[in-house]
Symmetry: C2
Subunit: 418 residues, 2 copies
């Protein structure tokens, strides 16, 4: 039987568990007799276009195992969206040349919505051009905005990090609030969807527990209502913890971070939404505040990854290879929540044509009526995703990470400018 | 024998392990036959002045045990410095009244340099006024700037968090750098001392590992030299990770965060030093950047506390009570690094009169010649302090915390305005 090679690539913003998916693809493919070598695109699709392919068979087995507990994208990721075939023939033809030159039979693209659109196009075009390549999308996004799948690998770990950090920092503010800081603002990621911001709500166990206010992209920011709630919270609890999504916006759909607000001294505001909210609180209410922007820290915090998330990240990688080998094409493994009392899940599948370019936002019944909190339904959805502590091994007090050699496959084609 | 009560209070910025010190004080005092009850000032010295005393004997034992893994200041902290006796007679007299009314024989004040100055004053004045109270300072500061003690409880855990987060986030930036973010900036605390910023340097194992640039308060910021180094790093490594101390300043001693810089659109800059550095990098070099301000997250991250730090935080609390019972006064237990090949430490003591109001900054030989990194001597000093992972217990995916009742001792005095 004519063995063909597999090609794996990472795309878009990385996560703390995307390398677990990579490990699963490599390990599962290595067990198959029908797949020869597993190559990885260096920096995603850009590396494939440049014929920069990493030969994973040349890596030490011990280092590959460490991928399971190494955050970031071990093979490099990229932000590069392929346009339609008609407007971007050149790049598709180049991909085909690379696939043919390196006998690629299976392509695994590990990314979010945009990437699954690309995977879908490649599946179509390779078939159309007479060199069919089995193309499987693998879900990944901390934003949790992919449709069909119950949740996206990468999200559960950020949710755990944000909920944990919110609870911890809240205890700090509470202890300082009598004579000093009364308001703490934490800015979180999530683009246009409030899933990450929502996860902070898990930190609260009882009434008046922090976070007291969550600002979702799904709820238009109302400055007056917000300031009233802050004031009331400080009055009632002595302090106020606010979690704000980077995608929070006003009723005109303008991001708060871009609102160009001016303080009482005439200074314009640059930078994130947390300092913007802090400025409002300080300027309008006079409270002392602190703010934090966790940025990349939240999505790379492998030291506090969720075990459920890690398991699912591995499972979708494994399932992707199994699906490819069983003759599936242009599909993506998804996570299906089973209808059971205790949380349980299984792998299902979705057609790439249906997943592509659709953002799943928070449903209305997940947000409390006042727009500042999450409902019990939301907690029921989120809580299972942060269960279990998948601690990495530590060496000399710091998390151990994989050190890959990233040896390149010998090039066979001419240079190509991306 | 006439038993007297003990009074414990937390002061200044809190840490992820200050409650372990509280637990040690309470547990050790409870074992002594000479100490009756342990009271805690609600919100530090301010609570004592207001006669707001928490009776720890009314707490559930199980909850008190949880203090060991609960960040923040469980009894509340405050920022309130007592002035000299001559200028602030009123507050000292009130303290005396409270001590007498509640039969306080032992006062334990858990804080940084300012607080130890206060403790020292109280020891003197209670003796002078004929109601001698044994006053013991207990060290605590994430800034690690207390003199005499080899390091300060609270610091090691922040160091571990910052080194871990720097390593994790660096892997993220590295994977994005080919087509997107090239520079990542992490702002850390530490006031006028660069200890926390320095700890990020532990993340690097090999040449060219992140962090590539550390900006210390101890080294005057040179914009040209800095931008050149960023450019060179991106050229060599493909990306650049910068860790900047909140206390970073220019040669005139002005904080960078306050530098009032104006961007090319004439917008003035508000807020932290990370966005300021990010702005410089973007504006002058054109690189895409991300920045993070970890703020309270770093000092409350009990989920990744150092075991060595936790052990030392407990040990100083225990030693404080032992010292008080053995007749010491106006002293502070300190951590002494033993002269051994393997790191080991023991408890020593320092006079409060000598500790008070002195900031220990980074020595010159801990910073590399170019001013952007840490030396091997510095690594040798820092590394032992981040050893061991003191994970808290988790429940439902989140760290468990103590829930205290904070029942107040019945007031005996008139109200007092602080």
């Amino acid at each position: 039987m004519n063995k063909r090679n597999a090609l794996y690539a990472q795309s878009g913003g990385v996560t703390s568990v995307i390398n677990a998916t990579a490990a699963a693809v490599i390990e599962t493919a290595n067990k198959s007799k029908r797949i020869d070598k597993v190559y990885a695109g260096k920096n995603g699709i850009v590396g494939i276009l440049r014929e920069n392919l990493i030969d994973t068979s040349l890596e030490d087995k011990a280092q590959l195992k460490k991928l399971i507990h190494t955050p970031g994208g071990a093979f490099g990721s990229c932000r590069h969206k392929l346009k339609d075939f008609d407007t971007n023939k050149r790049e598709y033809q180049r991909l085909m040349e690379v696939f043919v030159a390196h006998n690629i039979g299976y392509f695994f693209y590990n990314g979010g919505g945009d990437s699954q659109d690309t995977t879908n196009k490649i599946a179509k075009i390779t078939a159309d051009l007479g060199f069919p390549v089995t193309c499987i999308g693998i879900p990944k996004t901390i934003d949790n905005d992919l449709p069909y799948t119950d949740n996206s690998p990468g999200f559960g770990s950020v949710a755990k990090y944000i909920a944990t950090s919110t609870r911890e920092a809240s205890l700090d503010v509470e202890s300082m609030s009598e004579t000093s800081t009364k308001v703490f603002i934490l800015e979180v990621m999530g683009r246009h969807a409030g899933w990450i911001a929502a996860s902070a709500g898990l930190a609260a166990e009882k009434k008046n527990d922090a976070p007291h206010i969550i600002l979702f992209p799904e709820v238009a920011f109302n400055q007056k209502k917000f300031l009233n709630k802050v004031k009331l919270t400080v009055k009632t609890c002595g302090y106020c913890v606010i979690v704000v999504s980077e995608g929070a916006q006003n009723k005109d759909g303008k991001f708060l971070a871009d609102s160009g607000s001016v303080d009482s001294f005439g200074h314009a505001q640059l930078g994130g939404v947390a300092p913007y909210i802090a400025f409002l609180v300080g300027d309008r209410l006079g409270y002392k505040y602190h703010w934090s922007v966790s940025d990349y820290l939240q999505r790379s915090a492998r030291h506090i990854s969720s075990q459920v998330d890690l398991d699912q990240a591995y499972a979708v990688g494994k399932a992707a290879v199994k699906m490819a080998l069983s003759g599936e094409n242009a599909v993506m493994p998804i996570i299906v929540r089973k209808k059971s009392k205790q949380y349980s899940w299984e792998i299902g599948k979705a057609k790439l044509s249906e997943v592509a370019n659709f953002e799943k936002k928070m449903p209305k019944n997940f947000i409390t009526k006042d727009g500042f909190g999450i409902t019990q339904s939301c907690k029921n959805y989120l809580s299972p995703l942060i269960q279990g502590e998948a601690y990495p091994p530590f060496k000399d007090g710091l998390p151990e990470i994989a050190r890959l050699k990233k040896r390149m496959v010998r090039k066979k084609l001419k240079n190509f400018k991306v």
